[in-house]
């Protein structure tokens, strides 16, 4: 093994640093982008740095983050879940309707049951997604597109197309703010982010997720039970959608058929893409998703603070997506050049040592 010497010689920069360079530079780029964005909004937008804006953006962003975390898991396996926002809507509506119509009472026990039902609904529909993708072997785009339609339709059937009022005992789950600064959604989103991070980086589950996304055939040949694993991934994404659904229905205390529309889906996927999760699978980190969410959420609120018509929101996010992907690709090609240089230097030095010894 090439052992780096005490002096700062070019060869001392072993390619071990290459990995750190790539990760660190990605993170740096992303933080720089966020800094630029915040500066622009801070200057051109009114009250960007106010507590009111923080509460608003954080609450809104938390829902996006939870959905984006679920989407991240699926995209890492080289799949896609187009139904994740609709599953959020379905879970929220089922939970809300339970408390409004079928629960024996609205006390705190029933509230807990309601939350459990919401998350379980998400997990069950996610499981179904996974089943259709793996066992029925339908490509994720189509499978989840179908689920999107089905979930949206079921919501309309359940609510008869109108919003149903939900008892107020559910409200604290969606409206509490702790210490005046931390909305409950933020706590939930942070919890989910930490959970998904640990899952992806510290467990075999995470390892297999990346492996399947990187090369599903290789993973299968090495003995990973891909069918079982993918079903778990989609079910987990559904469960996260369920969490988001419960938070949403609790926030509005209304089971509305409008929860989880195309905007929510777009925001979640945008957050992933901006955060560097590769749509080809196998690449991307949770930190990226978090930063992508920050960008998307602050864009929505920041533009309004700048007095820009809401029509421009999707335009802005579209531009940010394209720019992000372009910059990510630039950065990767730079890393590639760096590797070549390092390799060349390394091999020359090895030859030199060989000769001298």
């Amino acid at each position: 093994m090439t052992v780096p010497g005490p002096t700062a010689h070019p060869s001392a920069v072993s390619a071990r640093r290459l990995r750190l360079t790539e990760d660190a530079s990605t993170l740096l780029w992303q933080l720089a982008a966020v800094a630029v964005l915040f500066t622009v909004f801070g200057v051109l937008g009114t009250n960007f740095w106010s507590r009111g804006n923080w509460l608003n953006t954080a609450t809104f962003g938390s829902t996006i983050l939870i959905l984006a975390l679920g989407e991240t898991l699926v995209i890492l396996t080289a799949g896609i879940d187009l139904s994740i926002a609709a599953l959020m809507g379905l879970s929220g509506v089922v939970a809300g309707l339970y408390l409004a119509r079928w629960a024996p009472s609205s006390d705190s026990v029933q509230v807990a049951v309601t939350v459990a039902i919401g998350i379980a609904t998400g997990a069950a529909t996610g499981f179904l997604n996974g089943f259709i993708v793996t066992v029925l072997d339908i490509t994720p785009f189509i499978a989840t597109l179908g689920m999107l339609g089905a979930a949206t339709g079921i919501v309309l059937v359940l609510t008869n197309g109108i919003s149903v009022t939900v008892p107020d005992s559910l409200a604290p789950i969606g409206n509490s703010v702790w210490f005046g600064w931390i909305p409950v959604q933020v706590a939930a989103a942070v919890g989910c982010a930490i959970g998904v991070y640990c899952l992806l980086h510290y467990t075999t589950f995470g390892m297999y997720t990346y492996a399947i996304g990187s090369d599903a055939e290789a993973a299968r040949r090495m003995g990973i039970k891909t069918t079982r694993h993918l079903i778990k991934v989609y079910a987990l994404a559904g469960a996260l959608a369920g969490v988001a659904g419960v938070l949403t229905v609790a926030q509005f205390t209304v089971a509305s058929p409008n929860f989880g529309g195309e905007n929510a889906l777009l925001n979640a996927i945008a957050a992933c893409v901006i955060g560097g999760i590769s749509l080809f699978g196998g690449r991307g980190k949770v930190s990226g998703t978090v930063i992508g969410t920050v960008v998307v959420a602050s864009a929505v609120t920041g533009l309004v603070l700048m007095g820009v018509t809401s029509y421009w929101q999707t335009v802005f996010i579209g531009i940010v997506i394209v720019v992000s992907v372009y910059l990510q690709r630039l950065q990767q090609s730079q890393v590639w050049k760096l590797r070549f240089q390092l390799a060349r230097v390394g091999s020359e030095l090895r030859r030199a040592r060989h000769v001298s010894s």
Binding site: G45, T46, N47, S50, G52, N53, N56, T57, T59, F60, T63, G149, A150, T152, G153, L156, V157, N160, G161, I162, S163, V164, T165, N175, T248, Q251, F252, V254, S256, P257, N258, F259, G260, G261, E262, N263, A264, N267, A297, V300, T301, G302, V304, L305, G307, T309, S310, Y311
Partner: protein
């Protein structure tokens, strides 16, 4: 008409056509099967959500072609049933077709009805122009058509129009807002979708009413959409930006949900004045709870009654007015006792 986001599921065309075929078949064979003087309404549902209601009165059958299955159209449907009961004779109702906003689907439903031996059709066109050829077909076949709630592009071909007349109600709300805020502070107008003429009338009416008495009041307008999380985020941002926002106007049921949430969670609750269009159950609930101060309710019940009455008159060759405006009602907590009856009912015509 309630405004909802457009992404209702698109179901296979076979379903409504089969359902209407079944309805026609039953009509042809079963009319004599019912007892003579029972005024009880029998309902047959082809599916959970419906876009076509066929009301049978005696030997006639009238179809109400709805745009979507939601509280406003429920009130129309209930009004039609009430009128049918008044006209006497056994009534039964067949509900068919999936609920959707697709104009082409509505045209297909309409044409199927024309071919099914229907006596008369009342339609609220999703697309004012697309429905015209189908209506002309119906008229040629001798079937009277009433246009209700949403204007048709060519009013001359229908026997009657029963419309809401959006502007006066919206204007009245605007004037009232001006009075209530005393000409001080800013007002937020929340739009559900862009490019919808009915919604635009609701915005313009309100803005005109407000500007008439309060020309110096700033109006902040955003199309916030129907997705509650995002819509609330936008309204709250507007509140963060402009601390003088004191009046809020939601153009429909879906924007009402978000505006109420935004106002409540921004701590403006007691001071803000929230007005909203339409009177769905949760809007009325919010009105009673003091979260909304004014609702502009359309008179769906009346539109249903008049539509059926005019169709009945038409098949009995009685004269029918060309254009009727049913108007709107301003509902407040104070006048709720009198105006309660205009609140839109919950559920699919369950009353």
């Amino acid at each position: 008409m309630l405004i909802r986001r457009r992404s209702a599921p698109r179901m296979h065309a076979i379903v409504p056509i089969c359902a209407i075929a079944v309805a026609s078949l039953a009509l042809a064979t079963g009319t004599g099967a019912w007892g003579s003087s029972s005024n009880k309404v029998r309902e047959d549902r082809a599916s959970g959500n419906y876009s076509v209601a066929v009301v049978h009165v005696g030997k006639y059958s009238f179809a109400i072609v709805q745009v979507l299955d939601d509280p406003f159209f429920n009130s129309v449907f209930i009004g039609a049933k009430q009128e049918a009961q008044k006209l006497g004779g056994p009534i039964s109702v067949k509900l068919a077709g999936p609920s959707q906003v697709d104009p082409q689907q509505q045209v297909a439903d309409f044409k199927a009805l024309v071919n099914s031996g229907i006596s008369g059709i009342a339609v609220a066109p999703t697309d004012a122009k697309a429905i015209v050829p189908a209506v002309k077909e119906a008229v040629k076949a001798g079937i009277p058509v009433v246009d209700y709630n949403l204007t048709i592009a060519d009013p001359s071909i229908v026997i009657s129009q029963v419309l809401t007349s959006t502007l006066p109600g919206a204007k009245a709300a605007g004037q009232r807002m001006c009075a209530v805020i005393g000409g001080k502070g800013d007002v937020f107008v929340a739009g559900a979708h862009a490019g919808n003429p009915t919604l635009q009338q609701r915005w313009n009416g309100f803005r005109a009413g407000l500007a008439a008495g309060c020309p110096n009041v700033k109006i902040v307008f955003h199309v916030i959409g129907c997705e509650p999380s995002q819509a609330t985020g936008i309204v709250k941002s507007a509140i963060v930006r402009d601390s003088k926002l004191i009046g809020f106007y939601a153009d429909s049921q879906c924007t009402a949900t978000s505006v109420v949430q935004a106002v409540q969670s921004s701590g403006l609750g007691k001071r803000a004045h929230v007005y909203a269009y339409d009177a769905t159950p949760d809007e009325v609930h919010a009105l009673k709870a003091g979260k909304i101060q004014l609702l502009i309710a359309q008179k769906g019940l009346l539109q249903g009654q008049l539509s059926l009455r005019y169709l009945w008159n038409a098949v009995h060759h009685t004269k029918v007015p060309k254009l009727t405006y049913t108007g709107t009602v301003l509902m407040t907590k104070a006048n709720l006792a009198q105006t309660q009856k205009w609140a839109y009912p919950a559920g699919g015509g369950q009353k």
